[in-house]
């Protein structure tokens, strides 16, 4: 069965989603979600081991040749992304039961899990496929289900947020497919590997330039690059807690992977970064994202919104690393992709636990919650310290790589900016600390206590992971470096 692992990676969550929709009852639907969520990281880990042992895995769906059919192609880069996405899903699954029951109406709980698993299948599909159009289909699969997930949020603003995301996301996906169409007319294939082989002959033509522009802008909408991020804060703030955790940890990360795949493996770093001024554009936008979004985060009154803006800023660090197009920069970007996924999953999960106990998530409503839920809030604090980049945490590792990469290319001022931007993170995280630890609990908060173990344990696991991967960087930084080397080699 091991030769079918690439297909299983996507088919298992897809079948799980279908079964969850068929049983229609909250309990069994959750059970299916748990089984699927625990199976996918096992598959991803086996794929990673296979890739490390024997190199790139190629799986031909339906037995068709890659030139006409769909090929699933796993190398170090997407094996890492697959493992990340599926592991996050596995940690979320036990947490989800009570949180979803308390936030989603009973008759929609099974649909929620169904949408959740479809979204998981879509994200894993984007990561694993080696076909440009198949990636579009999975992009839509994951996006459409995430619009539904967001719309199931607790208050009516969730509907507006989902609608806004739907419009922006559809524009992004349309841009992407226009770009893919142009590439297809110029190269006659949709297979990423074959495109990469053939695009060298036509890369100076206008359609290819236009295709690059459409694909970069389209995916940038999905990954919430700075001026295209406006859908993100509301979507994260008003979605059900579990959906926020999942989307914040995975959705933008997979879009970043797709971006890296196109820019480095398909178009080639030489074409995109040496011949065109993409580095300059991306660096400016990334720095604007880091400073702009972090500044806006300081002034939020809703805690989830604050950390949502923080996500926009953190995406800026990742794109900054990619835009340098060096091994160190790319390693920094990819490490931060993994680390930020863990950090934000821990933070939003902690906030989900607070919401489960208190029922609100505005600053004024959760004042002093740290005194009533010390373990949960300690875990969130650890994750926040990692967000700032305190030495000994995962966030430090990624920022270190980014600063070194900036200095390597001679842009010491960029390294300085990264350090300065951490100060902004200190301000908004500090405001959160002050609120939850140094104020007297009142109202609902005074009656709140620690959440049940099934919620507490996943939060603590993620918080522990942010510390562990700050000390042992073999899996994260080591893998990211191999992925960076693989991406920069490309085909050309």
């Amino acid at each position: 069965m091991s030769e079918h692992l690439p297909a299983l990676q996507v088919v298992v969550p897809l079948l799980g989603a279908v079964l969850a929709a068929l049983v229609r009852r909250p309990g069994p639907a959750w059970l299916i979600t748990v089984v699927v969520s625990f199976a996918t990281p096992v598959i991803a880990a086996m794929l990673l081991v296979q890739v490390l042992d024997g190199g790139v895995i190629s799986y031909h769906l339906g037995g068709w040749d890659p030139s006409v059919g769909i090929e699933y192609r796993v190398d170090v880069v997407n094996a890492l992304v697959l493992l990340l996405v599926s592991s996050v899903a596995a940690v979320i699954a036990p947490f989800a039961r009570l949180s979803v029951l308390s936030e989603v109406p009973d008759d929609r709980v099974a649909w929620f899990y169904s949408m959740y698993l479809i979204s998981l299948a879509g994200l894993l599909g984007i990561a694993i496929t080696g076909d440009a159009f198949n990636a579009f289909v999975f992009l839509e699969v994951s996006s459409l289900s995430s619009y539904a997930l967001i719309a199931m949020g607790r208050d009516r603003r969730a509907l507006v947020a989902a609608y806004q995301y739907l419009i922006m996301g559809t524009i992004g996906a349309s841009f992407y497919v226009i770009g893919v169409g142009l590439i297809y007319t110029m190269t006659g294939t949709l297979n990423l590997g074959l495109i990469a082989e053939r695009i060298g002959d036509v890369e100076s033509t206008r359609p290819v330039l236009v295709a690059l522009a459409f694909i970069v802008v389209g995916i940038s909408l999905k990954l919430a690059l700075f001026p295209l991020h406006v859908w993100l804060p509301n979507a994260y703030a008003y979605a059900p807690s579990v959906a926020t955790v999942f989307l914040a940890a995975t959705a933008t990360k997979v879009a970043i992977y797709l971006f890296a795949r196109f820019v480095f493996s398909v178009f080639g770093a030489g074409f995109v970064f040496a011949d065109l001024p993409v580095t300059e554009i991306l660096v400016v936008l990334s720095v604007a994202a880091i400073f702009g979004a972090s500044t806006v985060a300081i002034f939020q009154s809703d805690v989830k919104r604050m950390f949502a803006y923080s996500s926009v800023g953190q995406v800026g660090y990742i794109t900054l690393g990619l835009s340098l197009a060096t091994v160190t920069g790319l390693t920094g970007g990819l490490v931060h992709l993994v680390n930020h996924a863990m950090i934000k999953a821990a933070i939003f999960m902690g906030l989900g636990a607070v919401f489960y106990r208190v029922g609100k998530i505005e600053f004024d409503d959760i004042a002093g919650v740290g005194r009533r839920m010390p373990i949960t809030m300690s875990a969130v604090v650890i994750a926040c310290l990692s967000l700032v980049g305190v030495p000994g945490t995962a966030g430090f590792v990624s920022k270190w790589y980014l600063i070194v990469a900036a200095i390597e290319v001679g842009w010491w001022w960029l390294g300085l900016l990264i350090v300065l931007s951490s100060m902004l993170t200190v301000i908004y995280v500090g405001r959160f600390f002050e609120c939850v630890w140094f104020r007297e609990p009142a109202g609902e908060v005074a009656r709140a206590g620690e959440p049940p173990l099934e919620m507490l344990v996943p939060i603590c696991i993620l918080a522990a992971a942010t510390v562990y991967f700050g000390i042992d960087t073999e899996l994260t930084a080591g893998m990211a470096e191999r992925a960076a080397v693989a991406l920069l080699q490309g085909v050309r």
């Binding site: 088919v11 279908v18 031909h60 339906g62 037995g63």
Partner: protein, 139 residues
């Protein structure tokens, strides 16, 4: 529409032809334009037309909301299930070649079953969307 005799009678005449046409588009999709998606939309249109003329409740007596909501995932299950059968016959996912005695007939059977899955999901999804809109404000 209760009193509009012409619409009610014509609808009753048209419905069987629409359903047969849906089946024609479904099964002739192998040889000409058509297939599960188009046929599913036509089949859903018969239910929607019936609901428009005879009312939502009459339509729900024929095709209940629970049935529709079960059919949506069922079609996907058939599609994915046919792919899994490809595994059981020793081939890759979605490879239908071993479903019958030779490769050509295997592929034909595979596409036939997959299209049936598409038909079920598309038609039920269309009806579900219609029910959702038509049922607004009733609860």
């Amino acid at each position: 529409m209760r009193l509009d005799v012409i619409l009610r009678v014509v609808t009753k005449f048209i419905l069987p032809f629409m359903m047969v046409f849906a089946l024609y588009v479904q099964f002739h999709g192998d040889y000409s334009a058509g297939g599960g998606f188009q046929a599913g939309v036509i089949a859903a249109a018969t239910i929607i037309l019936y609901a428009l003329i005879y009312g939502l409740n009459a339509a729900k007596r024929i095709v209940s909301a629970a049935l529709v909501e079960a059919m949506v995932p069922l079609g996907v299950l058939i599609f994915a299930g046919v792919g899994v059968v490809g595994w059981l016959t020793g081939l890759n996912y979605l490879d239908y070649s071993n479903l019958a005695y030779d490769q050509v007939h295997g592929q034909e059977w595979g596409v036939f079953l997959v299209e049936a899955g598409v038909f079920i999901t598309v038609s039920s999804t269309m009806v579900a969307i219609f029910y959702a809109f038509a049922g607004r404000g009733r609860r």
